[in-house]
Subunit: 473 residues, 2 copies
């Protein structure tokens, strides 16, 4: 390739080192169970092994890969371990990893349709596939006034939704004048922290963010939402958007979408639905009841990078009216003018997101869906849900522990009946024994969260976690 | 791995398919010159070849990879082609692609130090290496009150800078109250469109965004900045931040950092420096003059994913006072509480960025720097700059064309002396002949931009582009 290959890795070398990297990844996946999930390094341990200055001369690839094993691996918390039950799954898979490899190899920028038509068209198409796979409302299809786009995360999806809502509520004035009015945003007390972060970033201010009360199942109370909106209206504020969550991070609580959607409709508010974790479960018809009423939403997001065997980052974000989003985010400088954009016949995804540039992320999702097929995805989601139900039944049968009911999907939350200290002690013991679970507080009681969704998690791993939980209880 | 491997790609299969994917990428790189750079598909051509519904059953990996070749490849605009001279380079390299492969294989989430210490520590460390490689001010090192972090793009870096600036200017009030005051932001008329986009997103409003006049070299006039700030102060507004650009997207113009920084200091304004494209040139001491005065900046960003052989996304963002950034972006819900965070001894990068989640992007940058060494990076940057100088000299020697002076670094802007139509015709001819260049307008005259920075771009490719430009002129 060319005449001056000084310093470059040639394609022959790339083949050789590429095989070695593939072998290393395969070997890593085969050894996953050998590692304690939570890295045991102390702060600074990894850096202490790195040279203070960058190398003046290049080094052989073998040396770099050897340092991944020697320096990096001890500092890894193994999200792909079958014994990872913390936070939420961030499961990956062979086809996803290889989709990312092909994407990196192509090295394209999908900011405009013209800068790689396949990057835009595959994405629009696969997001339509997701509408079908999850039985989402048709208004989210690209063949209607709506459509889908891949964001890096649910955080960015919510931020985009709030910006579109802000523009709609002010007739386009906010982008010009700034946030001059008190625009209020609503989520339940159980909504994810990224919602408040987005409220701040977009200039609404935390003071204008309302935490709406929840019922015993930790689901938003639509009447409480209605009351909060009424109070803000009577204060002269502008109720702008509500974010409903199906599958809260803390306990997988399910906000009632239809009732919330009706409140939003009545007040002309934007409804964004955050299904980051739970959304994937909708691949199985018997599990998708939590989407009831979703047709009232203006936007919706879920993360294939959580539970759909697709590497981070891959958040699927849908809007019912793409014009609202695009008009809020578009700016077209001269150097981006091109015939395709001016024809109006194409989608330029730069106008659907915060940054300008974008990777070809649809490839990995395409690889995953084609590899597993709809039936493979359903199989594994059902398997994880069944494992969680089994785990919950063990908790119910054990007098020492209390289960948070209702238990939804693949998350089980428990506490020791002896109280806070006992619960904390159990968690510490489990995490010191090679598995990894995390906690939450409802409202001031610690709950251990057992989140099941790893690609390689099987019954024996769940049984082992339960053994670790109970053996010192 | 586990007991139920139904539908999963086994590690044995992963090896086999992984080698095939590596071979495909290597083969793609070897064939780069065979393709017209700009995809020739029409709108909808790619989608038309995709089945309307997702497959019910899984498909063999070979079929998927065959469809990458058959369906995707014709829809690719080849950013890695040696004949790609459009926009800016988004160059990649073997070590970068393999760094991304290892990152995908590890599949970790680096939102907290604890969720993979190596992800955070390698990133902090490599960003310190970049401070040394580019001779950036010491105050951007993680060992001071400052530090670096990888963002997805310069857009997000500027947005983060504006949010930190907003908080500093209002004593922390904006996050609570929203953007209640008229906070003004300044950039030159040549600043990138993402600056105005960030101004809108963060709720400042475009009306509070000032486009500052430039000199004949299209560099910001510090006196004009001073005047604009004075006018806003006298109107009771709050001048909050200036964004200076070294290496504008349009023409690689260089704003004078020291003079701008002095204006900012005088008025207590945040100075963010956007060196997205040009920053990499600072690896060569004789090219880094444009950073003169950078020690007056509060934040700085450049994109290794443009010119440093590192795949998108990889923007290196530095702040002189990390507390300003972190306090503007931090929210710590119960489910993210952990001992390491509470110790205060670690960095949690979730507080340095818009989203919560983050990939292990430092790996590819580490692979690249170790593969090339400082001398390899310098070699190729100098090579690209030398190619641009040669190209500029051909333009100067040709009566039909006019060169935009001063010509900086690896970008050359030219126009046909016969006027708009002739210039446009030349551009269309070149792009119809397999190369790819884009245009800008200064102020209302079209200029063809010749941006040289492809990994595989050599003298013959630049000579061919010149031949295409001149043969129909």
């Amino acid at each position: 390739m060319g005449h001056d290959t000084n310093y470059h890795m040639t394609t022959e070398e790339f083949r050789k080192h590429g095989y070695a990297a593939v072998d290393w990844v395969a070997g890593y996946l085969e050894r996953l169970e050998e590692f304690p999930v939570l890295s045991t390094v102390a702060a600074g341990d990894v850096r202490a092994q790195l040279p203070p200055s960058p190398p003046e001369s290049g080094e052989p690839f073998d040396a770099v890969l050897a340092d991944v094993e020697r320096v990096i691996l001890p500092g890894i918390t193994h999200w792909q371990s079958p014994n990872f039950f913390a936070f939420f799954p961030s499961n990956s898979s062979g086809p996803s990893i290889l989709g990312d490899l092909v994407s990196a190899g192509l090295g394209v920028q999908g900011m405009l349709w013209a800068t790689s038509p396949a990057c835009t068209e595959l994405e629009a198409h696969i997001l339509d596939w997701l509408v079908e796979l999850l039985a989402l409302p048709d208004r989210f299809r690209s063949t209607t006034a709506g459509g889908g786009v891949i964001q890096d995360s649910a955080s960015s999806a919510t931020l985009c939704a709030l910006i579109a809502a802000r523009e709609r509520a002010t007739g386009g004035a906010t982008n010009r004048e700034g946030v001059r009015r008190r625009l209020t945003v609503y989520a339940s007390t159980q909504g994810h922290s990224h919602i408040e972060k987005a409220v701040r970033i977009a200039g609404f201010g935390s003071d204008n963010f309302r935490l709406v009360a929840v019922d015993d199942a930790l689901a938003m109370l639509p009447d409480a939402l209605d009351d909060a909106v009424a109070a803000d209206l009577s204060s002269g504020h502008t109720p702008t958007a509500a974010v409903a969550t199906v599958g809260t991070t803390s306990t997988m609580a399910m906000d009632p979408l239809r009732a919330i959607g009706e409140v939003c409709r009545r007040h002309g508010m934007w409804l964004h639905v955050d299904a980051a974790m739970a959304g994937t479960a909708a691949v199985a018809p018997e599990l998708r009841g939590f989407h009831e009423g979703l047709e009232l939403a203006d936007s919706y997001a879920f993360n294939p990078h959580k539970w759909m065997f697709t590497n981070f980052d891959c958040d699927a974000f849908f809007v019912a009216d793409r014009e609202a989003l695009v008009s809020a985010l578009t700016i077209l400088p001269e150097y981006l003018h091109n015939a395709a954009t001016e024809s109006g016949a194409v989608t330029d995804y730069r106008d659907w997101q915060i940054p300008l540039g974008r990777r070809f992320r649809a490839l990995k999702l395409w690889f995953v869906i084609r590899h597993y097929g709809a039936e493979g995805l359903r199989h594994h989601v059902r398997r994880h849900v069944e494992l969680a139900r089994r785990f919950a039944s063990w908790v119910r049968d054990d007098d020492r522990f209390e289960l948070l009911e209702p238990q939804h999907l693949n998350l089980v939350c428990i506490r020791h009946r002896d109280g806070e200290e006992a619960t904390r002690r159990v968690l510490e013991h489990v995490n010191a024994s090679g598995a990894y679970l995390t906690h939450t507080k409802i409202p001031d009681q610690t709950l251990i969260r057992m989140s099941i969704g790893g690609t390689w998690t099987e019954l024996p791993h769940v049984e082992r976690a339960w053994r670790l939980i109970t053996e010192n209880a």
